[in-house]
Subunit: 336 residues, 2 copies
C-alpha cells in the first residue's frame, strides 16, 4: 500500500466534494490502486486544521456544515492561522490540492513545485496566466502539475489532450465550455427573457451573484486559453477575441427556433488563436448541447473529428476531475 | 533524442498506414517527444525484411505497392523466412507491433513480453481471449501491453478507461462499435434492401468478403469483451449474449423512419455482462451515429454520462491508435 498525504486548500463546495469522494471511496482506491489517500491539512478562508496522522474527513465535513468555517473547530485538532503559501512551506504533504478561486495562487503553486510537491488544481487563473512557468518548474522538479477540473469539470478533455492522441496533430478545437450560458440560452428558448433566465440561474446556484465572467465569455475564454496552452503553446489571454451572450435578444432566439437552430457560446481554439462568440447551430449539431453539459470537438490530421461530451459543472462532477488527478499524481510520483 | 526500434508485423492496409504515419511524421515526433522511431523489421505473410540500421519506409511502401509482397524485394535488404514467433525471438527491437489478424498471436505476444519487449496491437483475439495472461505478464516484466486500435480505431476509448477517470467507478458502457453494420443500416434507411446494402459495403471495402463477423455481431462482441476486461475484469467471450442484424427487415427499417427512430447494433457492457443486439433509438439519441463513426456512452458514479464519438474504422484512423500506442510505449518504457 502506497500512502499519499494531501493538503486540501479551499473548503467550499468543490473542496467538500473532494473530501466526500475521498471519504466514501477510500476502500475502492485502496483495492484498485493500492493507494491510501490521507488528508493531513484542510485550509478554508478562516483557518487551517492540520494533523500529520490524517484528518477525520467525516468530522471535518460535519463541522463545516454546522458552523460554516473551520476556525470554530474545537477539541481534537489544533487550529492554525496558516494561509496557503504557509501551508505549502510548513505542512509536510505529497500533493497540494488547490480548489480555491485565488487569482494569485500561481505563486504558491510554484513554491509547492519547487519544494518537490505535486500540485492538483481546479483553479483556472494560474493555468491561464502562468502556464509556461508552472509547467517548466514541474518538469524541472519532476513532479506532476495537473488541472483536469479547470475545463469541463471531470470530463477528461485535458487527459485526452495530454495523455492520448499522441500520433495526431491537433488542428482545431471547438467547444461549448460554459454551462451557465447554455442554461440561460435554454431558458430563453423556452420563452423567458434574458433577465428572467439569469435570475433563475442565480437562484439555482448555476450563475454567480456577479455573473459577468460567465455571461461576458471570460470563463469560456479562460478555458479556451488552457486548451490552447496544452494543444499548441502558451497563449496570451489578452489576445483572445471574446464576445459574450449579453447582446442576444429574445427575438433572435425565437427566430432561431423557427429555423431549427440554437445559439451557443462557442470557444474556437486554433494555433495562435482563441475566439469566444455566440454561434447559431442546427439543433442536431454535436455542439448544440443542453443544460450544464459541455462538449468539445477536436479536429486532427489522422483521426478527423472526435467529440467528447459530458458534465461541465457540478460538485461531484468537478470532484471527479480533482480526485482523478490526485490519483494520477500519486501513481506517477516515484518518490511518494 | 531517444531511439526506439520497432518490429512491424503485418503489412496489409493497417501496417502500410502505420509505416506511412511514421514516415510522414518522423520529424514531428522528434520535435514533440524527442523520439526517433526506427522500423528495424517488417513482416508480411511472405517474408521478413530486417535491417538493424532501420528500413527505408518509403522504399518498403513502394515495393509493397508495386509487387504486392515483400519477398520480391531485391537489392539492399536481406530477405528472411522469419515468421512472427521467430521475429519476436531473433530481431532486436524495443516494440513489437502486431497489425495482423493472427488468431493465435497471443502466444508470440507473450514471448515478446517475456523477452522484455513492449507490445502494441490492433489484433483483437489476443485481447479478447488471453487478457489476464497477457496483462499479468506485462505487469511482471514491467513492459507496456497496449491495444488502443482494437476498439473504435484511434478514438481513445481505451486510453480513457485505462488512463483517465481514475476517481470514477464505471457502471455501464453503451457502444455502437461496429461501423460496417451502421453503414448497412444507413443504406437500408435510404431504401436499399439488406442484400443491396451489404453488396455496396463490400464494394467499398467496408465489409469483408465473408461479412459474418460484422453482421452477426461477433466483432461488436469482441469489442464489448475488451471493454469489459478493462473496466471490470476478464470476461469469458462464450458468455456474451450476441444477436446480429441479419433478421432486420427493410419493412422494419422503413417503419422506424416513420416513428423517428433508427436501429443500431448496440453493445452493452456491465459488470459480468456483455450483450450485443439491435436497438431502436430516437434519431437524436447520442448512440444514433451514422456511417463508420463509433460512439461509446460511459455511465459512472461521479461524472454521470460521458460520450465519446469518433472514427471507428479507416486506415489513417486505425494507424492513429497504433502509432499513439507506439509513442506511449516509448515514453513509458524506462530501459529503451
Amino acid at each position: 500500500m502506497k500512502e499519499v498525504s494531501l493538503s486540501l486548500i479551499g473548503f467550499g463546495n468543490v473542496g467538500k466534494g473532494v473530501a466526500e469522494v475521498i471519504l466514501n471511496k477510500n476502500q475502492y482506491f485502496k483495492e484498485k490502486y493500492g493507494l491510501d489517500i490521507k488528508v493531513v491539512s484542510i485550509t478554508d478562508s478562516t483557518a487551517t486544521i492540520w494533523d500529520p496522522e490524517g484528518i477525520d474527513l467525516k468530522e471535518a465535513l460535519e463541522i463545516k456544515r454546522s458552523f460554516g468555517s473551520l476556525k470554530f473547530w474545537g477539541s481534537e485538532y489544533d487550529i492554525y492561522d496558516l494561509k496557503p503559501p504557509d501551508v505549502v512551506e510548513e505542512v509536510e504533504s505529497d500533493v497540494i490540492v488547490d480548489v480555491t478561486n485565488d487569482k494569485n495562487a500561481a505563486d504558491w503553486h510554484l513554491k509547492a513545485l519547487n519544494n518537490g510537491k505535486a500540485v492538483v488544481t481546479s483553479n483556472k487563473p494560474p493555468v491561464v496566466f502562468r502556464y509556461r512557468e508552472l509547467l517548466e518548474t514541474a518538469y524541472k522538479k519532476n513532479v506532476p502539475y495537473l488541472f483536469e477540473a479547470t475545463v469541463m469539470a471531470g470530463t477528461p478533455i485535458i487527459s485526452l489532450l495530454r495523455n492520448a492522441l499522441f500520433a495526431d496533430s491537433v488542428e482545431r478545437i471547438w467547444g461549448v465550455l460554459n454551462g451557465t450560458t447554455t442554461f440561460i440560452l435554454n431558458c430563453m428558448e423556452e420563452g423567458m427573457s434574458f433577465e428572467e433566465a439569469l435570475k433563475k440561474a442565480q437562484e439555482l446556484g448555476i450563475a454567480e451573484r456577479d455573473p459577468s465572467n460567465d455571461i461576458g465569455g471570460i470563463d469560456a475564454g479562460y478555458k479556451g486559453v488552457i486548451l490552447h496552452n496544452i494543444a499548441f503553446h502558451p497563449f496570451d489571454f489578452k489576445k483572445a477575441s471574446i464576445e459574450g451572450i449579453e447582446r442576444i435578444s429574445e427575438k433572435e432566439i425565437q427566430e432561431n427556433i423557427k429555423k431549427g437552430t440554437v445559439t451557443r457560446l462557442v470557444t474556437l481554439v486554433e494555433n495562435g488563436k482563441v475566439e469566444v462568440r455566440p454561434i447559431k447551430l442546427p439543433t442536431n449539431h454535436p455542439l448544440a448541447v443542453k443544460g450544464t453539459s459541455n462538449v468539445a470537438l477536436i479536429e486532427s490530421d489522422l483521426l478527423g473529428e472526435l467529440v467528447i461530451k459530458g458534465a461541465g459543472a457540478g460538485v461531484k462532477e468537478t470532484a471527479s476531475g480533482v480526485v482523478s488527478d490526485i490519483i494520477r499524481a500519486s501513481l506517477e510520483t516515484k518518490h511518494l
